[in-house]
Amino acid sequence: MSRRYRDQRKSKGTPGVVFAIVGVALFLCILLAIGGVVALVNSGKQAGPGAASPAIETRNATLTIAYSPEKATLLQGLAEKFNAKNLRTSDRQPIKIELVELKPDEMVEKALAGQADFQALTPDSSLWLDQLNSRYAQAQQTEPGAIPPRLAGEGVRYAVTPIVIAAWETSAKSLGWPAKPVGWTALQTRARQDANFKWNHPSTAHASGLLATLAEFYAGAGVQRGLTAEMAQNPKTLEFVNAVEKTVRFYGESELAVIQQAAKAGAKDLDAFVTPEQLVVAFNTGVFGKPPAKLIALYPAEGTLWADHPLALLETPELTANQRRTFQAFREYLASAEAQKEILRAGYRPADLSLSLAGPDSPLTAANGVDHSQPQTTLQLPPPDVVAVVQNVWAAAKRRTNVILVVDTSGSMKGDKLTNMQTALRAFLAQIPSDQERIGLVEFNSTVTSIIELDTLAKNRGALTREIDGLQANGNTAFLDAVRTAYRRLQQSGDSERINAIVAMTDGRENASRVTLQQLADEMQTGNQKTPIIVFSVAYGSDADMKVLDTLAKASGGQVRVGTPETIRELYKILSSYF
């Protein structure tokens, strides 16, 4: 073959080979590119939309804090201002505080059960942190003498307030204020001697309730310190505590709820109640509306307790280093001049001692019913095991109740309304702590259709549950007749030892009763002079007749509450805490 021919053959064949090789290479590149895109898309899908990679979760700097209800306004404001600073950790994670409202005992239970959806907590008192750590240490079976593990870390104080007896100015004077020191003895004596004297304290789930109860046990045991479990369970002590508890009008869900009610009802509801000093200041400065009268903070001569509102981390393995940084940053913010001044304005005593309680910006003044040089002394807080005995003994010694539930099953209650109501009633029964409480039920629509007579829950629970399960909606609304039926049954029992109450619910307008509103109101006002019976009127939805509900509540010294299909269950749980 000639060289020219070979060259021609080469020059004719070579471009084709080159193109073929380039084409194959390009094809491979395209395949790889497609494969890479598919791999990227798949790895994104596996992670899921919005899902953080594990590395980001461990750097999470959002700290959720559980707080007790009475400081909702203060803490929400402080957290908002803190978050507005848009701080970041050294690895650029946003520092943020989120809040969740919980009762202190709920914080403890959730933390111990490992179900806390919060990483820090600020209950109303260090008592709760101590209870939490004490129970945690017991669960770890720490031997006496060994250093126990702790679940709640060191607490930080930013605001404190003493627990006081709040009384209307006229009531305070009738107790001896300001001429002489007033204390638990004066309150207890007056309550036992004067059937018209109305007072309350929350349950021992709240610091103020525990304090009032402790004061009763100290007084009953005849000591001012060194209360032991044996003293707390002594029959003489129990007799005294029973006698005092018989004078409690009702217990109630929290100090905040009581003071809100006081703002509406004034002195008609209660003459005195146990509450933190800060709420007295808030009340007198109009936070809950124009005060109907002035409240005075009485600092018990025998001693009181402080609500010290500690803030503490839950030391769990899931706590990230960044969450610790957030805690530290928030702690420093709470100690800042800006936050401390806000705390003082809200009526608390700030942890910053450089802020004068007597200064022009301080609301802790005689004009607002408080004395910042008080209290002079505190009650001795016993060891945790004695506190636990006091709480348990109180649950047995507390004033018992007769409660009749009045339940509307008119036609408008059909569907979800009735279903949710049934759930709420079951929740109410479940929340009642003792089987010795007496509960009855009156069901109505066009007339009173069914009555479960008052009896102890030990005997009545089955019948009540069956009745609730069998409720059906139809007919009109004979609300007043039903309430009168319940009222007359309680009057006939004449049991003034117990708290007598009606929880009367309706979702509509009264249209079928024989008794009129005025007649019933008059009957109540007369009858209550013999055996006081409180009506808690529940408006279920927006169609309920508020005038009727309000009139009955006022006539009996009770309350009106509003529930919706979504909130009715929670409302009945709250109402159960009054008993």
Partner: protein, 448 residues
């Protein structure tokens, strides 16, 4: 997972390969041999790099590596600081971090966590920080284990007193057969500030007690504690109620243990206390009577001097507390309660020396240890020691004086503060058995 580097390198490699093929083929038509060789080599390099990246990201160990929160940048020194010095150490850490100092080319970050000495000792006892089990090295840890070590294991512990360090060392010697905090050498535990226990009482209360009983000591306090008639019996105001003693809960605050040991020292009139002495029934009866004057035996009170200030005489008339805590509270107490504190020094003095103790085990890296040394040196500088003095602590740097100048020791001299403490007898550090005996007694008799 980021595949971009792999794809880019691979794409580049393939492009180089195409060009290499082209030039090899074109060479036959008189094209560039040089370009062909160049692109061949380039293609080979890029394809090898792509293969390596792929193996790293997609190979068998890749899944575990995805969990690693790779600490970027700073050498982190995690400091557990006892409560009385934590504010000072934290402020010092803030200033130190601002300086931007480096260790092995990396910036140093000091992180401070407040923790009572006993609480920290308990955590060390239970190995909650997670030491490496015998023989294991950091390289053998899983990613999650290494991450925990690098973010939570303390590099430095500054307890209230060196005896806590000795107790921790004793525990780890049994478990790991080595010291974890050294007592000699470059990394030895070194005091960075000192303070001591003194009596702090409200002036009104101290006046009444001293008038009735003379010099304040544990016996005088005991007699006040058991006075059935309360303050009227002691010459005080009836509104003051009973005598109220402030002693930190020993479960929450090592000062509580120190107070009980100091009480034992005065009871037996000697600075060395044995187990037999703290378990003696007569002493325990005396101690129980004393503790009966605590206002809060629930265990909640760990705040002591802070309690004095926040809650005033309502929770305590007086107690034996750390001088620095009292000094920090003097102004606030005067402002809040209009009744100043007075300070009285006990016969046998208990000192806290806050030793800066670096963890020398493999759980901390050399860089972390050396960075910790830098911070230790910083804490000992005159400027930072003066900061400690401003917070009521006594300096260890002899260049810094507390006898003159505008400091808390001079400011509160009139209230009994002594810049030079005349007492020479120091309470001996208790053995672990004595500590445990007292804690056990407290649990069973007071704070159960």
């Amino acid at each position: 997972m980021n595949l971009a580097p792999i794809l880019v390198t691979l794409g580049g490699g393939l492009l180089a390969l195409i060009l290499a093929i082209y030039f090899w083929v074109a060479r036959g038509r008189g094209g560039g041999r040089t370009q062909a060789v160049f692109f061949t080599i380039l293609a080979a390099v890029l394809l090898i790099v792509a293969a390596g990246l792929g193996w790293q990201r997609l190979g068998p160990n890749a899944a575990q590596q995805a969990l690693v929160a790779v600490p970027r940048g700073p050498v982190q020194v995690r400091v557990l600081a006892a409560l009385p010095i934590e504010p000072w150490v934290r402020e010092a850490a803030r200033q130190f971090n601002e300086k931007g100092l480096r260790q092995d080319g990396q910036p140093i970050e000091i992180q401070v966590t407040a923790m009572d000495g006993l609480t920290a000792l308990g955590k060390f006892d239970r190995d909650e920080f997670g030491t490496l089990p015998g023989g294991k090295t950091r390289d053998q840890l899983t990613a999650a284990e290494r991450q925990k070590l690098e973010t939570t294991f303390p590099t430095v512990w500054i307890p209230d007193s060196r005896y806590l360090v000795e107790l921790a060392n004793a525990a780890y010697k049994e478990r790991l057969s080595r010291d974890v905090f050294l007592t000699d050498g470059e990394y030895r535990a070194k005091p960075i500030a000192i303070s001591l226990f003194t009596w702090g009482l409200y002036n009104s209360r101290a006046t009444a007690l001293e008038k009735k009983s003379g010099k304040i000591d544990w016996q005088v306090i005991h007699d006040a504690a058991i006075a059935k008639g309360g303050w009227p019996e002691l010459g005080g105001d009836p509104a003051w109620g009973f005598f109220k003693l402030v002693v930190p809960n020993p479960r929450r605050n090592v000062g509580g243990l120190a107070a009980m040991i100091a009480a034992a020292g005065e009871y037996y009139d000697k600075p060395n206390i044995s187990v037999a002495e703290v378990t003696d029934p007569k002493f325990q009866k005396w101690l129980k009577e004393l503790m009966g004057a605590l206002t809060d035996v629930s265990g909640a009170s760990a705040y002591t001097a802070e309690d004095f200030a926040l809650f005033g005489y309502s929770v305590g008339d007086g107690g034996q507390l750390l001088e620095s805590d009292l000094l920090n509270s003097m102004a606030g107490i005067q402002k809040r309660w209009a009744d100043p504190l007075v300070i009285r020094y006990p016969k046998y003095v208990t000192w806290f020396d806050f030793p800066f103790s670096i963890w020398v085990g493999p759980e901390t890296t050399a860089a972390e240890k050396n960075a910790a040394l830098q911070f230790q040196q910083f804490l000992l500088t005159p400027e930072i020691q003066k900061l400690a003095v401003a917070q009521g602590l006594r300096p260890v740097n002899s260049q810094v004086s507390i006898k003159e100048g505008d400091n808390l020791f001079v400011q509160w001299k009139s209230q009994g503060i002594e810049a030079v403490v005349q007492r020479t007898t120091r309470m001996a550090t208790p053995s672990r058995d004595v500590l445990q005996a007292l804690l056990r007694w407290f649990d069973l008799n007071v704070g159960k």
